[in-house]
Subunit: 234 residues, 2 copies
DNA sequence: GACACGCTTCGCTTAGCATCAAAGTGTGAA
DNA sequence: TTCACACTTTGATGCTAAGCGAAGCGTGTC
């Protein structure tokens, strides 16, 4: 029975070795940011071919450092849990000293509000997501694991904001889903519906894009509207 | 200037790789216990030949995970700092879950008082060390980095305890120095003087050795004497 | 159904690294 | 001075694993 159980050190050894390869390290530290990534993205991050990346990701998964969510023909990889992030942070402390410990060096404007592809992320994105949920405008779809449906109340409410829900529904893309926010570590709203929200927010000048980045500036008018219509205080 | 600075990830990578080799992992987790070890001891722990161990230790040193103190023909290796222990603990959490996190499984009797070769270690050893210092009986030697000298006051005080300081001074071995205690993580007194202290403590029955271990039991009389003579409360 | 796409698996090559024995260095003891 | 000892350095050997391209396998789109 002693032979069955491997050296306790060996387990640590395998995990450390899994982290200790440059391509895998890059992948892991990309995932610390919180955003789930596809294998292709991680191949670019790791600076290796897709096939090599696949092997790496398999190994990280075997060591339970990452987990994968299959969604259609995409496979989204993310850290297996907060413990993994903690271990990676402890290692980066060793590498750079506690002063330079891992802090996502994000300009605070990017934290407050920014675009994530074609929808709103950052604190504002998360706040909108939460508001829609607590107002009962969206609800998790019973069938699908990670998808939202718009309720009858939501149809009315979103419509009053000037959002064409039916048009968004008609698009050939995912309608609405929780998208993990890498600065907030909590989901914001993604999908066609979220894109429509951003379009309206820009059109009505609730937010204005900064020219050279993905950051969004929240206007005073936007602040007022968000508070009165959605109960969001920023 | 960008080229000069290596990938930040690479630094983490190298450190994790340094940890992620079975022999090195065993050595490191042995050192987490706090006791400095010689290269020969670590070779046994790592289950490799002395020459291989030497290479491993060099690498760990290059990555600043361990440090070495040269003492005569011995070289004592120990962890470079508490950050290293923290990183190792974070990794062991990943390996075994938080429940089985790294706890030095030391019988509490060994923690309270034990022998370290020929002197007193454990909480009692640390307490004696601290008492001698705060009483002004010993002071760090100006010339040497890690050595104590006995002051005039100390000569009198130690003499009144029945310790022959001059005899200890005459021995061909290090006289007195701080010796890192692996259960307390703080120094206790080592060297010829400390051996003399143990001899007196045993002779006067302040402590009695347990037959089958290095543990020492503190007698009631010892407790009284330690309190009245050195101000030590246990 | 056919094609494009994302990703994985397979086969192979190459490079790095762990390993040990043997020789070398420096320290303490007789 | 000489020996013993602790440890390191060197050199040769073998194994592991990282790397890519080509081929295979589902999934979604036209």
């Amino acid at each position: 029975m002693n032979v069955e159980e491997p050296d306790p050190d060996t387990a640590v050894s395998r995990i450390a070795a899994a982290i200790g390869e440059p391509a895998r390290t890059r992948m892991l530290y990309c995932l610390v940011a919180g955003h789930a990534r596809t294998s292709t993205e991680l191949a670019v991050i790791g600076d290796v071919s897709p096939s090599t990346a696949s092997v790496h990701l398999n190994r990280l998964r075997a060591e339970r450092l990452i987990k994968v969510v299959v969604q259609g023909r995409h496979r989204y990889y993310s850290l297996a849990g907060p413990n993994v992030a903690r271990a990676l942070e402890a290692l980066s402390v060793l590498a750079f000293g506690p002063a330079a410990a891992f802090v996502p060096n994000t300009p605070s404007s990017l934290r407050a509000a920014r675009t994530c592809y074609d929808h709103i992320a950052g604190a504002l994105g998360v706040a909108i997501h939460d508001a829609f949920r607590s107002l009962g405008w969206i609800a998790t779809a019973p069938s699908e694991s990670a998808a939202y449906e718009v309720t009858a109340k939501g149809d009315a409410g979103l419509g009053s904001l000037g959002i064409d829900v039916d048009a968004a529904r008609g698009l050939r893309r995912r309608f609405a889903y929780p998208c993990l926010d890498w600065s907030e570590r909590r989901p914001h709203l993604g999908g066609a519906l979220a894109a429509a929200v951003l379009k309206v927010a820009l059109k009505r000048r609730w937010v204005t894009p900064e020219l050279d980045s993905r950051a969004l500036e929240i206007t005073n008018q936007g602040r007022r509207e968000l508070r009165s219509r959605l109960g969001i205080r920023l």
